[in-house]
């Protein structure tokens, strides 16, 4: 424990620099720059809204579909992008790992933080839509960070697991690409969860992302404090995956150097 604190202290600046690097590189030579972080989710949401509300006639009787869509989308997009980047971060930084001693967990972690900052930027268009559609803001919104922190911990845990697997098994990049597509469809982002046949609902509820989205929508769309069991599912699943991820990563990190 003391070691962990020491290494975090020592490598805090490296973490900061890695996140800053990703930002600088991401928007280099793009005219709109950081504006893309705001624009991109709005545009994807618009496309999805057009497709799903007009062609497939998904309708949400009580709530605004745009807000429903956007809240699910930004959470899923965060997970999808961060976990993908975290997965390739160890393999991608091989030239560093092979030459200097750096705690390796810093690579997946920096990716999750980098995408996390982007995620916070996407809250701006989310709130713009909340206000424009008249959904309104209430005091319960102050609870939202809890859901986001759970989402972050879950993503870091998954990032550790995926980064470890992908070092030993490069096929994982392809497998996970397919998995994430499937995952997107089993997460109620664009459809109503009630549309799922009752016998499948339990399986869908095993998906931690379902609970982070549920927590967020409960507050944003239904103006209510989520039930206690939702809080427990969120925190429990995120801590579980975070610890599994840390355990696996720590166990195998010394072997990375032979495989990357």
């Amino acid at each position: 424990m003391k070691n962990i604190i020491y290494s975090i202290k020592k490598y805090k600046f490296l973490l900061y620099e890695l996140v800053a690097r990703d930002f600088k590189v991401k928007y280099k030579r793009s005219v709109l720059g950081v504006l893309w972080s705001l624009l991109y989710p709005v545009l994807t949401m618009t496309v999805m809204a057009l497709v799903f509300s007009n062609m497939f006639r998904v309708s949400m009787p009580d709530v605004n579909y745009l807000v429903y869509l956007m809240s699910g989308l930004i959470i899923f997009n965060y997970y999808s992008e961060a976990s993908n980047l975290a997965m390739s971060s160890v393999v991608g930084n091989f030239s560093l790992i092979n030459k200097v001693y750096i705690p390796k967990y810093i690579f997946p972690l920096s990716k999750c933080i980098f995408v996390g900052i982007n995620f916070l930027l996407t809250l701006i268009p989310l709130y713009a839509i909340i206000l424009l559609t008249g959904t309104g803001v209430n005091i319960h919104h102050l609870l939202l960070p809890f859901g986001f922190i759970c989402l972050f911990m879950f993503t870091v845990g998954m990032g550790f697991i995926l980064a470890t697997i992908s070092v030993f098994l490069r096929d994982m990049f392809y497998i996970y690409g397919v998995m994430i597509t499937l995952w997107m469809y089993v997460t109620p982002i664009m459809y109503d969860f009630a549309m799922i046949p009752a016998k499948f609902q339990l399986i869908f509820k095993l998906n931690p992302l379902y609970w982070y989205i549920y927590f967020t929508r409960d507050i944003i769309l239904y103006n209510q404090v989520p039930n206690l069991n939702v809080w427990i599912y969120c925190l429990g699943s995120s801590l579980l995956f975070l610890f599994i991820g840390m355990f696996i990563f720590k166990k195998y990190q010394d072997k990375f150097i032979y495989y990357v």
Partner: protein
């Protein structure tokens, strides 16, 4: 006396599996599953691929000592330095190092070609574990030494390789670490900069830091080192003063 020991390398062995790049293939797995004979053969083959880059290496380095490592290519010198630097964990044995280590195993590790020289100084410094405060203080010194003041805000990908090496050298040598690990890089850049960087290296080496130095130039080893370790096929062949260099030269001459 024990207090003055900076690095303790105890029974260090390092195993690589040369067949690792073949990895696990579905076909092999399937064959193994069906045929126990093939399974055994596969296991033996795997063992045959084991390669010991280091075998039971033992030595201590005292404070302020300059230790030179000699040996032919692939003898295990660089692996040993990587183990001491903490980049690799030894398969067996233990390495203890007391003090901050500055590994100059390869310059410019962690440069991002898309970033400017200024940004890379901070990134590379962070990779080596320095704080922002420290880098702020030393920034001018680094820029001055590298003589790249006019190119600070140019992306490194537009630099010539010599310029990159100069920048990397300047960042890498900005501190006087307690333990310096040098793998065959004494001078970089053009003639003028080579002289400058060599002087700086010599300054660092003779300035009282503990140095582990790998080189194929016996001349520079003789000039700089107090202690010479000769490694061949992962085993220490000789350890001692400068006379080890002569033994090594003799051995090479005999084998030509």
């Amino acid at each position: 006396m024990d207090k003055d020991i900076m690095i303790k390398v105890k029974d260090v062995s390092m195993r690589f599996n040369l067949g690792i790049d073949k990895g696990f293939s579905l076909k092999q797995g399937f064959v193994n599953l069906l045929d126990p004979k093939m399974r055994k053969k596969h296991k033996e083959e795997k063992k045959k691929n084991d390669f010991w880059a280091l075998k039971d290496v033992n030595f201590n380095v005292q404070k302020g000592e300059v230790v030179g490592f000699i040996g032919s290519n692939g003898a295990g010198k660089s692996t040993l330095l990587k183990v001491v630097a903490g980049v690799m964990k030894p398969t067996k044995g233990k390495v203890e190092a007391y003090g901050t280590i500055c590994p100059m195993i390869e310059l410019g590790a962690g440069f991002d070609m898309d970033l400017t020289a200024r940004e890379n100084i901070y990134l590379n410094g962070a990779v080596m574990g320095y704080s922002k405060q420290f880098l702020d203080e030393k920034f001018n010194e680094i820029v001055e030494f590298s003589e790249l003041k006019d190119f600070l805000d140019v992306p490194v990908k537009n630099f010539s390789s010599g310029m990159i090496a100069r920048l990397a050298f300047s960042v890498a040598t900005l501190v006087e670490p307690e333990i310096l690990i040098v793998d065959e890089i004494l001078s970089v850049g053009d003639l003028a900069f080579q002289a400058k960087s060599e002087a700086k290296m010599l300054n660092m080496i003779t300035g009282g830091t503990t140095v582990l130095y790998v080189s194929h130039s016996l001349e520079s080893i003789r000039k700089l080192c107090d202690k010479v370790i000769w490694i061949e096929h992962g085993v220490i062949k000789a350890i001692g003063g400068k006379e080890v260099c002569d033994k090594y030269a003799e051995y090479i001459n005999k084998n030509i």
